[in-house]
Amino acid sequence: MSCALYLRLQNVGMRFGEGVVALDSLDLSIAEREFVTIVGPSGCGKSTLLYLVGGFLKPTAGILTLRGNPIVGPGADRGIVFQRYSLFPWLTVRRNISYGLEELGVPRIERDRIVAEHVRLVHLEGFEDRYPRELSGGMQQRVALAQTLVCQPDILLMDEPFGALDAQTRRILQDELRRIWLRDTKTVLFVTHDVEEAVALGTRIVVMSTRPGRVKEVIRREFDVSDGEDFEANPQFSALKLRIWHSVKKEVEAVRR
């Protein structure tokens, strides 16, 4: 695995208006082809962190660089998948997926070929002409994933993409995402509040502190996780999950006090 420093956040701070400090002097470095998951108590600023990398928000302090270039705004080099409602309701599945290609000016024939390939990748054959409101939550997220993948981003930003799905669908999509990552070895930055998900997907897991959000600890997963694996039966998995769970729980309790 290449260890070239890829995405760097240095001393990043973000405050909204007066008083609300979402992130404070946050440092994080991500190497190319890493799958980094970020967990933390709700309201710790983990989504804000993702929006900063996406270029949708501008940090009030610090600097973010991608391949050494400062991030100044949104761009197709960073693909984002939101929790929900990110599909264009007026476009069919096919047109939603081809959106980024249309914006790039890819010719029609080429577009059709790439879209068909991605429809297969996320198992949406037969639904190409449906509108988002006709799809289940899980299918909508598959479309959103395909919509992002066609743009061939350097890094995938995922904001609790499976958070609104039922446990079964979530598990299936996690496995699919892992397969896609292994196949294309893209860099992934994945925000979740689900500790099991963080361990199941992340090769490195970042635990964030409660607001103002900082990096509390970074844990490397030293073992592989495979599709359809019974996590309960894997003692290494359970131990890591428990350890991270305690770390997050301490932060949750800090808020309550």
């Binding site: 929006y51 270029g55 705004g73 761009g75 197709a76 960073r78 264009f88 914006e103 919509q147």
Partner: protein, 245 residues
């Protein structure tokens, strides 16, 4: 089944006329009105007036819709536009637009131009309000999503803001259609040589109540059909959106 209450009203109307409870001097019977309408249609007399009226209403509606959509969207996305337009919009909002007809006739003459202008202005308001609300409620996630997929700030208008606001604009246009018909008839009452409003006014003036009511019935039927056709058209064209009735 939806037609049952309507039939009931018509039957009551006819029964009241036949029993003498409702003298023809007050309101002609339903049958008498239908007979008068049939003769107006048969003679073809009503069609040039229909064409004149709907040309005015259609042109005014089109101008009001295009301008209303453009200004409404601009208001939603640019603060200075909102600050400039909102006070004007709020002050013309409660004005009964037909009250402006005499003024516009002084300015623009008694012909079609003044009528179309008043119709356009009347249609502009509801469309502008709905376009503004529609564009303002565009989910930020969609704008971000588009930006992250290579859409430039300028193209966002075309690719996200307009389509996202479209269902609300369409609802505003539906209200504008009804308003266009109201203002059309009102303006033709005041001064016209053609038009359905002119016919109603003229027949009413000479005591031809049957013919007058026939034109009213005709106008009602056309208005109803336009509205139903519009809603049905929307459902087809915007199948992606769940419209209310």
């Amino acid at each position: 089944m939806k037609i049952v209450p309507l039939l009931l009203v018509v039957m009551l109307w006819q029964a009241a006329s036949m029993s003498g409870l409702l003298p023809a001097a007050v309101l002609p019977s339903f049958f008498a009105v239908v007979v008068a309408l049939l003769s107006l249609v048969k003679s073809g007399q009503i069609f040039p007036h229909t064409a004149a009226s709907f040309l005015r209403a259609g042109t005014g509606l089109l101008i009001g819709t295009v301008c209303g959509t453009a200004v409404g969207l601009a208001m939603a996305r640019f603060r200075p536009v909102q600050r400039a337009v909102e006070p004007i919009l709020l002050s013309i909002y409660p004005v009964p637009k037909p009250a402006l007809i005499p003024l516009f006739m002084v300015w623009l003459g008694i012909g079609d131009l003044s009528k179309i202008t008043v119709i356009a202005l009347s249609c502009l308001v509801p469309v502008m309000v709905s376009a503004f609300n529609g564009a303002r409620s565009v989910d930020e996630i969609l704008l971000w999503s588009a930006r992250a997929r290579g859409t430039t700030e300028y193209r966002l208008w075309w690719r996200v803001v307009l389509p996202a606001a479209l269902p609300q604009v369409a609802t505003g246009v539906r209200a504008a259609i009804a308003i266009a018909l109201i203002v059309m008839v009102s303006s033709e009452f005041i001064s016209a040589e053609h038009g359905l409003g002119y016919l109603i006014f003229t027949y009413g003036g000479v005591g031809a109540d049957n013919a007058m009511m026939a034109v009213v019935l005709y106008l009602t039927a056309i208005g109803f059909l336009i509205d139903r056709a519009y809603v049905a058209g929307l459902r087809r064209l915007m199948a992606w959106h769940a419209f209310a009735h």
